[in-house]
Symmetry: C2
Subunit: 126 residues, 2 copies
């Protein structure tokens, strides 16, 4: 199953426990986000008015080698957070909003917040 | 700065690029989520009616050793996703909804979605 499909089919963490397949897929996406450079790259692309960023502009924002930046971009593409398109000599990157939106929904809290308080705690400890 | 503070002070990824300090803090939390077992543990605790789960119930849900589960729980506590409380012989775990909510907000899309389309692409390539 595609990662985006797994995200779409997974309930919010606060609704019910994830199964193994769901957890394995989602963990791949969060692992990709678990790196400061990749998070900054993603935020540069995601926040760009116009929606796409030339790889040259991404490389210019970091004191890192081109292969290192390329590796991070590849990881973000593999988990479906970015897409790319080559035009003339440059590659342009674009956010996949569906993936980001599904991740956000996974972590969302129920409108009323989780059930807490002494009465609930008693019910659990039985 | 505490991780929750960093999360609270960070803009959504789609609004503006993260700075290095924000990215370093947020990456720690996503790295904690980048493991299937930790995601399943978090979903078990987050979805539990009553809001807390005995460590014994968490261990029973996996075919993993107690020390392995303890390690994963420690990682989730260190990044502020879970808290724990010892009562009698057992430790009880509880979600920190603020941390989950801030993470969700970080990944949220703007109401209208990112600006895309040919006109926007032309504006960027100038």
């Amino acid at each position: 199953m595609e990662l985006l499909e797994i995200l779409e089919c997974s309930p919010p963490l606060t609704r019910e426990p994830l199964d193994s397949e769901q957890a394995a897929g989602i963990a791949r996406v969060f692992k990709a986000l678990g790196d400061p450079v990749r998070l900054r790259i993603l935020s540069i692309v995601a926040s760009r008015a116009g929606g796409e960023v030339c790889v040259c502009d991404i490389t210019d924002a970091f004191e890192l080698s081109q292969p290192t930046i390329s590796h991070h971009l590849k990881v973000l593409k593999e988990v479906g957070l970015l897409t790319s398109e080559r035009r003339a000599s440059w590659v342009y990157y674009r956010l996949v909003p569906e993936t980001l939106g599904e991740l956000s929904a996974l972590l969302t809290l129920p409108a009323s917040g989780p059930v807490t308080g002494p009465a609930a705690a008693v019910a659990v400890s039985r």
